[in-house]
Subunit: 325 residues, 2 copies
């Protein structure tokens, strides 16, 4: 299958690497809103301008759209789904039903197949919430994120006066994780589940006490959490906090038995060196599935819930039953 | 959907509890090879003789077959798949391809839908091996079992002269788990991955040293493992080792990035108070899926790899997208 990348930031670069490392995918190239000659790709693949994509309708099996959920994907994905099979990582949970309907109308109307909200949350975490709740209906699930970098929270700190640069880690709290694993189904507050750890480079002469206070009291972002602020040098930030790690946990505990006497714990966790590269790897696996569905004539918009596991693999069903069941 | 249970041991009782606790399943009754009037069910549901099952062809949506993999299921599942939609937990990994073909022929020929090898291994563990390998193709996965009771190993000890009763726990070794989680993709021997802990009740006057030696040197079962043997009283065995707990871990580590420079860990684990009740809960979720597939006209034999997550849930796709994605 030939894959095109639409949008070339961290996620687009991750898709590029994942396609190159895949046994059955070929990279058609990257489409960018910038001047193509100014974009240097990791692999040296072809770069095209987004305005030209319709010229390559017959050369591309799946377009993986690597735009942002806030403003790019709500229009990009339905537009592209009129001409291509597409995969995106739309992650504004509350707007998924609307986005689904828009993409479904576009894809169904033109006999294309689309997958929205691939990645790990939404994505692999969603699947695990669903499997666990189907298997243990009498239970409760919990999602924890981290330890990992939150781009949104890092940006929020950078907007504070006197801050030169910053990186924020979301950290799940061990006591909360262990309380969940105990099976007691605790009610946990926002503050009990996660803490926020910030590494901040202040401008010369800036009032660090004021900056720390502004961070810790910032509504929505920090006020509901215990927040730790470290002031470090620009060199330290570059040396120790250059990566984009992330991860998290989906845990469901539940009961079985005629008197609900037996307890069970299902736990799924991710520990990722690179959030965008892992997300990209999930998108490439789902591009494979979408291509299979399209070839079977199964059109319209799908989510990870609608895709059978076998369709994600390059192996045949016979091989899978023999080697992995 | 109306569910019948075919075979009434620990697993059958687990299915009975899971159906009763389900929002959308109704228990038709239990079919047994014993004299029905001698079987007392947990819920007081109807009990029928297996010979009469064809009389109820139109009253049952799915038959969950709770027989053993060694001698029952290889004939039971294909036979019943000629007249019913069926789900089994066939777990002899090496014979799955043959069993699949037999059940597929029976189900396809009569327009029924079947699922084989439901449960957790094969089952939920298999799904996790598949998802993880599809997402991280450049990686390696490991399955660990336990801590949990192995019926086969417990039986093997009981066959030793001078042993009155016994329970054997398979225990994953922490050092091995942590070596795997490190991402170094170690090669691990059988002995490095699991140890075997045995609780043995000896007959009065039996030679415990001989029993311990016979256990530890038993080929296939114990000789390749570090084995710990505890002699305890019958009362202690009943008091402390009456349960059937189990569980385990599926861990895949893999690399991404143009130079394979980033490492990722995907881990799925189960901690189960009751192995048969959890297995049963998985079977009931797959019975729901099989019923949906049947109603869509999707006949033949399936495995957990062929079932989209959404089909396991009693919620609609719209509800799932809204609440779980």
């Amino acid at each position: 299958m030939k894959i095109a990348i639409y949008g070339y930031g961290n996620l687009g670069r991750g898709v590029e690497c994942a396609v190159i490392n895949s046994v059955d995918a070929e990279l058609f190239g990257v489409f960018t809103r910038r001047a193509p000659e100014t974009v240097k790709t990791v692999s040296g693949c072809n770069v095209y301008h987004v305005d030209d994509i319709l010229n390559y309708k017959d050369d591309i099996d799946v377009v993986i759209i690597c735009g942002g959920s806030a403003t790019d994907l709500p229009t990009m994905t339905p537009d592209l789904a009129k001409s291509f099979n597409v995969v995106d990582s739309f992650d504004t949970h509350a707007n998924i039903p609307q986005h689904f309907n828009n993409v479904n109308d576009a894809a169904k109307g033109t006999n294309h197949t689309a997958l929205i909200s691939g990645g790990w949350d939404p994505g692999m975490f969603s699947i695990n919430r669903l499997y666990a709740s189907a298997v243990l209906p009498d239970g409760k699930d919990y999602t924890f994120w981290g330890k990992g970098v939150s781009q949104g929270h890092s940006d929020a700190i950078r907007r504070i006066d006197g801050v030169k640069d910053a990186k924020q880690y979301t950290v799940p709290i061990d006591e909360a994780l262990n309380a969940v694993r105990s099976g007691l189904q605790p009610e946990l507050t926002t503050r009990q589940k996660h803490l926020r750890e910030c590494f901040v480079v202040a401008e010369d002469g800036a009032d660090k006490a004021r900056i720390e206070n502004e961070i810790k009291t910032m509504p929505n972002y920090f006020a509901d959490y215990d927040t730790i602020v470290h002031f470090i040098s620009e060199e330290e930030l570059k040396r120790d906090h250059a990566g984009i790690p992330h991860g998290g946990f989906v845990i469901r505990t539940g009961k079985t038995g005629i008197n609900h006497e037996n307890s069970h714990v299902i736990e799924y966790s991710l520990k990722l060196d690179s959030n965008p590269e892992f997300t990209a790897s999930v998108l490439v696996a789902y591009a494979r599935a979408i291509n299979k569905l399209y070839n079977r004539g199964d059109y319209g918009c799908k989510t990870v819930f609608d895709i059978a596991p076998a369709d994600l693999s390059p192996l045949t069903n016979e091989e899978l039953r023999k080697t992995m069941l």
